[in-house]
Structures are given as structure tokens and as C-alpha cells.
């Protein structure tokens, strides 16, 4: 990129040299002058100049100008309210208009103390009001969803929220209705705002109009602490502030990392914290005493019992990781197993090949790509939500975004990603559409390749494709792991012994099985292993099926209760900080204790990570010899009925499922079907349909016609697809 031209701008008599095209708000800030704004928010796209709060005098222009809509040009002379009486009067006028119908109910507004409108009024506002007419009134607050409440009286109609909904998340659900002074912010027919990123509007709103319902009357700004940490719920690793009050997490806010999250959070990350106080949270060690019964035991006894069970396993130990552990937790457990107990077998959820790191790039590079290709059946938004926002930003910036899956811009059968990857890498014999795409990709400088499925063969297939396409600087490969820190956990496992170790034995008895965390407990492979284990040790936050077959259950912690590092999908190590203390010793302490009893050194505390480690993406690794990926799995084959594709919703999992206000976000008992298949069967959206699997299991679901879905394919969220095989019969009830 060429270095930008510098121009000279004068702001309130102060001269500055600044790159041409810099916004005037930023230019003024660089001169130490703050221009008040409400509607201006560069992350929402081009400025709209709606609120007029930023009116300033620009030399040579007769009228006041909205500074937010202008950029630095050479010899531009700007006068803000600080040196121009005209601008000051303009600013007073606007503030008066903004406050005209605002209720000024700061004392009982949750935004009080953190409110830009309050601050500006305090600094520049009039001491009294000249408005003696009835203000606009509305019923308030109204829930626009179980997690967000809207107070229309406080709304100053800056349209930040609706611009987010339309222009960033592109869900187009929160809109302005009516016109002029009657304009209101609303959802359709007052239906809940149900979308993956809805919560961001509560942070964008510069007044107390949109607030998280979960924070209502929970805390005042002077009572809280904001702890900088990293969300541990998906592999993006968004930077967040955890707001705590009296040792409890009260809310999660974004903490903009411009390369990772651009200051956006998904609703799972934002609203999943009350599960820390769920009723069924395990708070002390439990020991199995009867076939199905547990007794609480003291920590001492638990450590003793664990040491005994693991010691007696005589090296036949399997560790099942969740992929949500910190690197330090995983490392401790790995050393315990591999170095201490002489075992090398583990279930590691996302063991990506280091070859992937040869094409490492920050997530923000997706936005700058010319072509983005998304491969795989898992919706990106459910697996790594913020990646979806980056892809949308890329499309808005003019990129070609090509999605290849059953509902993609190139519709393919479920489970085809690996085949498509091979077609693109070796286009000689591929169908014409892939040959053309492969040519396009080879000719493109900046490509973002996103793999959102599990058939990436540990990333080797994706890396092979990236290599075949010759992806260089400016391009990036993003293999989306299934778990938040799967990449860190697998590295920790590898670092503790000889390479990747072994797969768990196919059959026979196992000495001990360590189930690390709730997510691991949900893995059906783990369930099967547990039946063959003499001793099962589980750490978990909640009781569930998996804890039932354990011999010893230790209370687990949440990411909000841990200190350590995690590695996100980019391969970036970030620091998680403990926002609140867990109500018991955490896993690390416990395993250190167990290690001590077995005479194995397990460090209880991680070293303080270096500051650089918290933010920066390590450089690309030198591409080593790429091992040949396994052949693509055999295609589903044709069967009777429709091909079923399932996906895991973002809002499923042991933590989020315990957050009551998020229940409305859980996937509906819905069957998506293509227009053609719906048409054949006379099915419309909303109809009840009977879905029958090959094994004859039938279930009633609600139909939703998805015009993007490829004919012959139906889609259901995991949790409503229980018992279905790969092909189903669908009929109207």
C-alpha cells in the first residue's frame, strides 16, 4: 500500500499534518479537540450526519457543517464550538432539540453515569428548558426481546441501532417505523429481536433507550469493576470486559480488538454469565457411593481418591478434553497424563495440523479480501459468529463472497466440502463451475478461505487447497475449530509428550478416563469409553448424563473464573483474566494437588504471559512438507427421501442452555426445506410436517421454506434431529 498523502488542517487555530481523508472528528481529536457526536460511529459504515451534534464552522462555507461527514483536505480550516460562537450556538441548538422530548430521568436510568447524552448535557447543556409542552410519551420500557429492553422516550433517534441491524449484522430486524416526529424504533409486529448479534445495540445506543434487560437495576457505575478478558465460548476469542459487582458477573461488554472482533459480540458471549449461578451447578466434589448416587466429599478426600484411581490405572489412562480449557489447564493435565501416568491416549477436539499456520492472517483481513470462499456445512455464524460479520463486511466492501454448502451460493450436497476442495486444488477434471472458481482464485491477490465443517482432515485439506491456490500475503486461511480453545489445547497436549500421541484404544478395559469439562462429557465417544473405564474422573460445572457414569466428579469453572491463555482460530494467543473467584479451588489447583500425591510436578499457576502474547498474531509459520490429506470421505450416497444436514446452533451447550433469558434464541423445532421440495409436497412455512428417519423414527417439526437450500436437502438443528439418519421422508401432517 502506498503511504497516504499528508495534508495540513487547522482545528481551532491548531495546525496538524494528517493523512488526507481522515475524518474530521478524528482530525480534531488528534489536535486535542473533542467534537461531540451521537450518530457518528465509523464501524456502522459511512457517516449519516443525522443528529447534527457535531456542527462546526468550516472556513469558506456559509452554513455550519456536520463535521462527522467531512474529511481532512488540504488547507481546511475548522472551528469548533470552542472557538466559534456560531458553532457554539449551533451546538446549543441541537442539544436543546435533542433534550426536547427526552425525559431526563437520569436518576433511575441504568445508563446514568455511563451516558454520552448525560455527559454532554452536563458539559454544554442549558441549565433549564424552554419546552413547556407535553413531551412525547410511550409505554416503557418494552422488551424488544427477553434480553433487551427499549425505552422509546429516551431514544434520540440517532439510528445507530437500526444501522447496525441493517448494515452490520444485516438481520434487518430492528428498524425505524413511521416518519418524522412519530418515528420509533421497533421490531416487526413487536416480535422479539431474534438474531445472533442483537445485544450489540445495547452498547451502541448512546442513551438509555436500549439496555440489556439482564442488567436492569443490577448495578450503578460506581459500584462496578470492569475486568478485561477474552470470551471463552467460541474460537473467535472476542475481547471483552466482564463487569462485576460484589463478586458477581453482571454484564459482558465488548473491548474492541480491531483485528479480531471490531468491537462486536455475539449474544452468546454477551449474555452467557448467569449460568455461573445456576441451581444445578456443582459446587463440591462428589463421589459415587451407590450405582446411581453421589455423596459430597471433602477436597482432601477427593484428591486422595483421584490419586488412587489414576495410580491404579497403571498407564492405561485416556484424557478427554473439551477444548474450552486454558492452555495452562490443558498443559497441566497433559503433563499429568503423559509424563506422570505414562499414558499417551487422548481425545483432542480440534487438533489442527501446523500447516494451517502457514496461511495465518488476522480475521480483519477477511474484510479486505477480494474474494471469500466459505466451505462446509456448518453455518459460520453458529460456529464462529464474528467471522460471519467479517464476511458480511467483505461483501459490503465489494468482495465476492462465495459460499459452498447446501444453502450456499453454490449449492452442493451435504458433506461435499472435501470433494470441492479437491476439485478446486486440482481443477483439471472438476465440474466447470469449480474450474472457473479455481481460475478466479488463482488470479486474485487477496483471498479469504474459510472452512466451516468437520471434514477438513485436521486442516490438512484446507492447507493443501491454500497451497494449491498459492495464497500469499494478504490472503488467509481460516479453519474454524469446533471448540473455543481446541487449538491451544491440542498444542498443549502435543507439547507435553511425543507429538500427538495415540487415539484411545478401540476396545478392552481402560484403567482410567479423565473427562475434562462439560463439553467433553457430551461427546458420544467419551460416553462409550466411560463404559469401559474402571475409574472415571470428571470435572464439570453441571450434573448431566456424563456425570452419572463418573466415579468422581469435581466442580468445574467457567472461563470467567480462570486465569490463563487461550488460542483462537487465527492461532492468536490471548489472555483470559479471572473476573470473579470460583467458589472452590479451580481445576489447576486440584490437578496440582493430585500430581503432588502421585509425586508428579504440575505447576498450579501459569507464568504471567508476556504482554505481546495478548494481542499479536504470531507470524506465519514456514510451510513444512505438507502430508497428504486423507481421501475425502465417501459421499452420502443416494437413499430414499431427502438428504438431511444438521448443524450445531450457537445457542446450544451446557452453559448457554442454562441462561434462561436466552432460551428464545435456541433453535426452533423446525425443518428447513427447499422451495422445490416444499412445492412438491404442498408444504408452506409454518405447516406441521412429519419427518421419518430410515429407522422409522418419526417426529413432528414445523416447516420453514428456505429458498436458498438446494433441492433434495433438508436441514434441522442438531438438537431436533435426534435419531434421524442421513435420509428422511418428509410429509405434511
Amino acid at each position: 500500500m502506498s503511504t497516504p498523502e499528508l495534508v495540513t488542517v487547522t482545528v481551532d487555530d491548531r495546525e496538524i499534518r494528517i493523512p488526507k481523508g481522515t475524518g474530521l472528528i478524528e482530525t480534531a481529536l488528534a489536535c486535542g479537540v473533542e467534537i461531540p457526536v451521537f450518530c457518528y460511529e465509523p464501524r456502522l459504515g459511512a457517516p449519516v450526519g443525522a443528529c447534527r451534534m457535531c456542527l462546526c464552522e468550516v472556513e469558506g462555507m456559509p452554513k455550519l457543517q456536520a463535521a462527522c461527514t467531512m474529511t481532512a483536505q488540504d488547507a481546511l480550516v475548522l472551528r469548533t464550538a470552542q472557538t466559534s460562537e456560531k458553532a457554539a450556538e449551533g451546538q446549543r441548538a441541537i442539544l436543546e432539540f435533542i433534550l426536547l422530548n427526552h425525559p431526563l430521568d437520569c436518576p433511575d436510568c441504568d445508563k446514568g453515569g455511563e451516558c454520552p447524552l448525560q455527559d454532554l448535557t452536563f458539559r454544554w447543556g442549558p441549565g433549564n428548558t424552554r419546552m413547556h409542552f407535553p413531551k412525547r410519551t410511550f409505554d416503557k420500557p418494552i422488551p424488544i426481546s427477553p434480553v433487551i429492553s427499549l425505552d422509546r422516550e429516551r431514544c434520540i433517534l440517532c439510528y445507530r441501532c437500526t444501522r447496525f441491524s441493517e448494515g452490520v449484522a444485516e438481520d434487518m430486524q430492528l428498524v425505524a417505523r413511521n416518519r418524522g416526529a412519530q418515528s420509533i424504533i421497533a421490531t416487526f409486529e413487536d416480535e422479539p429481536y431474534r438474531a445472533h448479534f442483537s445485544g450489540n445495540v445495547t452498547e451502541l445506543c448512546p442513551v438509555g433507550a436500549l439496555l440489556p434487560a439482564t442488567y436492569r437495576f443490577r448495578a450503578r457505575p460506581w459500584e462496578i469493576d470492569n475486568v478485561p478478558t477474552v470470551c471463552g465460548l467460541c474460537p473467535v476469542g472476542c475481547n471483552v470486559w466482564a463487569t462485576t459487582r460484589e463478586g458477581k458477573v453482571a454484564r459482558i461488554l465488548s473491548r474492541n480488538h480491531p483485528e479480531v472482533d471490531d468491537g462486536w459480540l455475539c449474544d452468546k458471549g454477551r449474555f452467557t454469565f448467569d449460568h455461573l449461578r445456576a441451581d444445578d451447578r456443582i459446587k463440591q466434589p462428589l463421589k459415587r457411593v451407590r450405582r446411581r448416587g453421589f455423596d459430597p466429599v471433602a477436597w482432601e478426600e477427593a484428591a486422595e481418591e483421584a490419586a488412587r484411581g489414576l495410580g491404579e490405572a497403571e498407564g492405561s489412562v485416556v484424557v478427554a478434553f473439551s477444548g474450552g480449557e486454558t492452555n495452562e489447564q490443558a498443559g497441566a493435565l497433559a503433563r499429568l497424563a503423559r509424563q506422570g501416568l505414562g499414558s499417551n491416549a487422548a481425545i483432542v477436539p480440534d487438533d489442527l495440523d501446523p500447516a494451517v499456520d502457514g496461511f495465518r492472517a488476522p480475521l480483519a483481513a477477511i474484510r479486505d479480501a477480494e474474494v471469500c470462499v466459505v466451505l462446509g456445512d456448518e453455518p459460520v455464524v453458529d460456529r464462529a459468529p464474528v467471522v460471519d460479520l467479517w464476511l458480511r463486511a467483505a461483501r459490503r466492501a465489494g468482495a465476492d463472497v462465495i459460499t459452498i454448502h447446501p444453502a450456499g451460493s453454490i449449492g452442493v450436497s451435504p458433506g461435499s466440502a472435501a470433494h470441492v476442495a479437491r476439485s478446486l486444488a486440482e481443477p483439471g477434471t472438476a465440474p466447470p463451475e469449480f474450474r472457473e472458481l479455481a481460475d478466479q482464485l488463482r488470479d486474485t491477490q487477496r483471498v479469504a478461505l474459510v472452512w466451516s465443517g468437520d471434514d477438513h482432515d485436521r486442516g490438512r485439506r484446507a492447507a493443501a487447497l491454500a497451497a494449491a491456490l498459492g495464497l500469499g500475503e494478504g490472503s488467509g486461511l481460516y479453519v474454524l475449530p469446533r471448540t473455543p480453545n481446541g487449538r491451544g489445547v491440542s498444542s498443549a497436549w502435543r507439547a507435553a509428550g511425543e507429538g500427538r500421541g495415540e487415539e484411545p484404544p478401540e476396545d478392552g478395559e481402560i484403567g482410567a478416563l479423565i473427562v475434562s469439562g462439560d463439553e467433553a462429557g457430551y461427546d458420544p465417544r467419551v460416553a462409550r469409553l466411560s463404559e469401559r473405564a474402571r475409574f472415571v474422573l470428571t470435572t464439570a460445572m453441571f450434573m448431566g448424563d456424563h456425570t452419572l457414569w463418573s466415579h468422581l466428579v469435581l466442580p468445574g469453572t467457567s472461563y470467567l473464573e480462570r486465569d490463563g491463555t487461550v488460542v483462537n482460530l487465527e492461532g492468536r494467543a490471548q489472555r483470559q483474566r479471572r473476573a470473579v473467584d470460583p467458589p472452590f479451588p479451580d481445576e489447576l489447583e486440584f490437578f496440582a494437588e493430585v500430581g503432588e500425591r502421585l509425586g508428579l510436578p504440575v505447576s498450579p499457576r501459569p507464568d504471567e504471559p508476556s504482554p505481546a502474547l495478548q494481542a499479536e498474531l504470531p507470524p506465519r509459520s514456514r510451510p513444512g512438507a505438507l502430508s497428504e490429506p486423507a481421501p475425502p470421505p465417501s459421499p452420502n450416497g443416494t437413499g430414499p427421501g431427502l438428504e438431511l444436514v444438521t448443524y450445531r446452533s450457537l445457542f446450544s451447550g451446557p452453559g448457554v442452555e442454562r441462561v434462561e433469558p436466552l432460551a428464545f434464541q435456541r433453535p426452533r423445532a423446525e425443518l428447513e426445506l427447499s422451495f422445490a421440495d416444499a412445492d412438491d409436497r404442498g408444504i408452506s412455512t409454518g405447516d406441521a410436517v412429519l419427518v421419518v428417519g430410515a429407522d422409522g423414527v418419526g417426529r413432528e417439526l414445523t416447516a420453514r421454506v428456505n429458498r436458498r437450500l438446494r433441492a433434495g436437502v433438508v436441514r434441522v438443528a442438531d438438537e431436533h434431529a435426534d435419531g434421524f439418519a442421513r435420509h428422511v421422508e418428509v410429509g405434511k401432517v
Binding site: D171, R177, A186
Partner: protein
Amino acid sequence: MPESDLYREIQRVADRYPVRRSAIMPALHLAQGKHGWLSPDALREVADALDLSPAYCQAVASFYDMYHLEPVGRHTVEVCTNISCALVGAQQVLEAFEEELGVHAGETTEDGEITLRTIECLGGCGWGTVVAVDHRYREPVKPEDVPGILEELRGG
């Protein structure tokens, strides 16, 4: 899910524009023509046809005065009361309609037949008072013309 006529008509209109979203206004006109007003279901149909959200369609529809987001009568009578017409007696014309119909401006007769509205300048100012009856202009209208207009409307 059989494809509705409305869906197909909207696709046809959308083909006229370089960007499909441009077809939302003609699509809303079509949907309103079909349903009489833009009910939530009508908005859902438009949204589906143009791959937009119903909320978005409602946001657009509610911006414009000609889209009805609540049911209206089979006929509409719209009296311009902007200044040119007002200067030559629009208020008297409006009151004559109110009297004859037994409703206020903004209301629909009990039988659901006729909705009476006032409307901003219709662009017939030189021939005031302008009244749009089912979107056809009558100009100039004097209070004494009102019974005849209504008779015609009810008869036809």
C-alpha cells in the same frame, strides 16, 4: 408451497431494476392492491418475494402515507386541506363529507365501505378544493357537490 401470483408479479417488477430492492415500493403497491391493506401477512409475502425481512418492509411502508398499515374501507375519499385548497374552502368540503358519512377524518364508515381522510397538497391547487376519490381527482369540489360524489361512489 405453491408460488403465489403476487410472488410472480413482484419478480417481474423486480427485473426492471438493476438492484432488486428497488422493487419494494411497486411490490408494496401490488400487495396493497391485492389485500386492500398491508397486513402483517401481506408484508411477509413482500419480504419473501424480495428476500427482505418483514420488519424492513414495514419500516419502508410506514414511511409513506399511501400504504395502509391498518384496514381501510373499500373506497377512500381524501380531501386536500393544504393552504391553496384551504384558502378556498377545503374545511367546508371536509365538513360536508364528515356530515354525510357520519365519520371524522381518519375514520371508516361503520359498514366498512368508505374511509375519509385529509391529505396534504394533492397538486391541483389552482382548482381547489381537490378531492381524491379512490385515487381519481375531482376538482374543484364545493360542499354542495359532496352528496352527488357519495351517491356515485355508493352506487358504483
